[in-house]
């Protein structure tokens, strides 16, 4: 471990609120340990700003172990920074070098308006789920036994892989079209692969895609950026599956 730590120049997007215009501001931090997480480095900056009597940088974060999906940040031109398979809270400063300049921006999309500084509003994701991200059963506790319907392990595993989406929005942020296809397809796929979800599969995919479009996300052009930047490695296969589900649903629907 180097004794003194790193000195870094940070270029950070500052924006008072949704209405105001923002701009990039420059800050310097020093003594950054390579063992810090990226968010702990921002904690250091904020402590410094508070002690100087200025407003700290607002950013979203919560679990700090890579599962809640709350942290975002577009770091040096990539969602969740230069490491792969991690969220920003799992990104460590050893990925950077002493003297580096680091650009830190909010996830950019028309459907993700900036709330303040680096905080964006991702409620569009929730609204897409309201449109169909569920199986319509009540929590009676009198549903049939959990083992009544065997599910092939391969299907269960694929459904699980799709279900590991944490809803962080890195896919939208990375896509040149700000498309939410990977996010939506993960949920559509999870349910399409399970017998419990198949029953409503048609309505689900039609409704969720309609809501996705309404929110102002762009179109998918299969660049594959989303898959590369996804901290959970959600596969593009899910998008193909959603396309398939959507096609068959729109052809066979009766009204």
């Amino acid at each position: 471990m180097s004794g003194k730590g790193m000195n870094l120049t940070l270029k950070i997007w500052r924006q008072k609120n949704a209405q105001s215009k923002g701009k990039m501001e420059t800050y310097n931090v020093s003594g950054i340990s390579e063992h810090m997480s990226f968010l702990e480095m921002l904690d250091v900056l904020n402590e410094q700003l508070i002690n100087e009597g200025t407003e700290p940088v607002a950013f979203d974060h919560d679990c700090r172990e890579g599962i809640c999906g709350m942290c975002s940040l577009y770091i040096n031109g990539e969602a969740h920074g230069p490491d792969r398979g991690v969220t920003t809270c799992q990104l460590h400063m050893r990925m950077f070098n002493d003297g580096d300049t680091i650009y830190i921006e909010p996830f950019r999309a028309k459907a993700f308006p900036v709330v303040k500084d680096l905080v964006v509003d991702r409620s569009a994701f929730d609204r897409i789920q309201h449109a169909g991200g569920f199986v319509s059963i009540n929590t009676s506790g009198n549903t049939q036994d959990a083992n009544a319907i065997p599910i092939p392990k391969a299907d269960a595993d694929k459904a699980f892989d799709a279900a590991t989406c944490i809803g962080c929005g890195a896919c939208v942020a990375s896509c040149k079209n700000a498309s939410a296809m990977l996010y939506v397809s993960a949920k559509v796929s999870q349910f399409a692969l399970l017998p419990q979800g198949k029953i409503e599969a048609k309505e689900r995919v039609l409704n969720m895609v309609e809501q996705m479009d309404e929110e102002g996300f762009g179109n998918c052009t299969n660049t594959g950026a989303c898959e590369v930047e996804c901290p959970k490695g959600i596969s593009l296969e899910n998008i193909a599956r959603m396309n398939r589900e959507y096609l068959s649903a729109s052809i066979t629907k009766e009204s």
Partner: protein
């Protein structure tokens, strides 16, 4: 047509259709290298068969116009989906240049099509439907198709433009081929890698083949 996925599927279907057209176009052109006579015969058939002329040709033109129009329309929508740009962006780390620049490679191919129409299609239509000469023959009694083809590639600038255009087409197809399959929902852990390889093969071989034909005719004239 109203939703993003429907548009994307139509984009893919029109693209796949154009891929098929391109393949047959290439095969016919390639005849000009191995057998000028066969090339002439097939060209005459294609140029005079009413089914091809009055059914396939309009469909093809519609396909091209649709693919272009939808491409531009989608590009505009997609630009709007991110109203504030990143100050620092490194898309090269997660996606290929080809996949991100389909609109530009596509527009270049379209520009080339303008030249191509000017070179071949407009003269064809003029001869056949304005002048009414459906014979396909030169004054000498020979078929005119091979002769016209050779003549066009006498010009080194034109030949050069063709070569450059096919490079753009190659870039377009390197992403477009496999992307079309993904868009219509075809994805399989076993077959998708094969399709990707096939797509790369197609995207390289066909444009290079066209380049070869152009250079062949240019060189054979020297």
């Amino acid at each position: 047509m109203k939703t993003s996925i429907a548009r994307k599927v139509l984009m893919a279907l029109s693209g796949l259709f154009l891929l098929l057209f391109l393949l047959q176009h290439f095969l016919i052109n390639f005849l000009s290298v191995i057998s000028p006579d066969s090339f002439n015969e097939v060209s005459h058939f294609m140029g005079t068969n009413p089914l091809i002329q009055f059914l396939m040709q309009p469909i093809l033109i519609f396909g091209v116009v649709f693919h272009l129009g939808m491409g531009i329309y989608l590009e505009r929508l997609n630009k709007k989906a991110r109203n504030v740009k990143y100050a620092m962006n490194k898309p090269g780390t997660n996606s290929s240049w080809m996949s991100r620049n389909m609109i530009y490679t596509g527009l270049m191919v379209m520009a080339f099509l303008g030249l191509h129409f000017y070179d071949f299609w407009i003269p064809e239509i003029t001869v056949k439907y304005v002048e009414g000469d459906m014979s396909g023959l030169l004054a000498s009694g020979e078929f005119r198709y091979f002769h016209e083809l050779q003549e066009k590639f006498h010009d080194p600038i034109r030949t050069g433009l063709y070569v450059v255009s096919f490079v753009f087409l190659m870039l377009h197809l390197l992403h477009g081929f496999q992307s079309a399959f993904q868009s219509v929902g075809f994805s399989h852990r076993k077959y998708t890698p094969i399709i990707k390889k096939l797509g790369n093969l197609y995207a390289i071989v066909i444009p290079l083949g066209f380049v070869f034909i152009a250079i062949f005719h240019y060189v054979s004239h020297l």
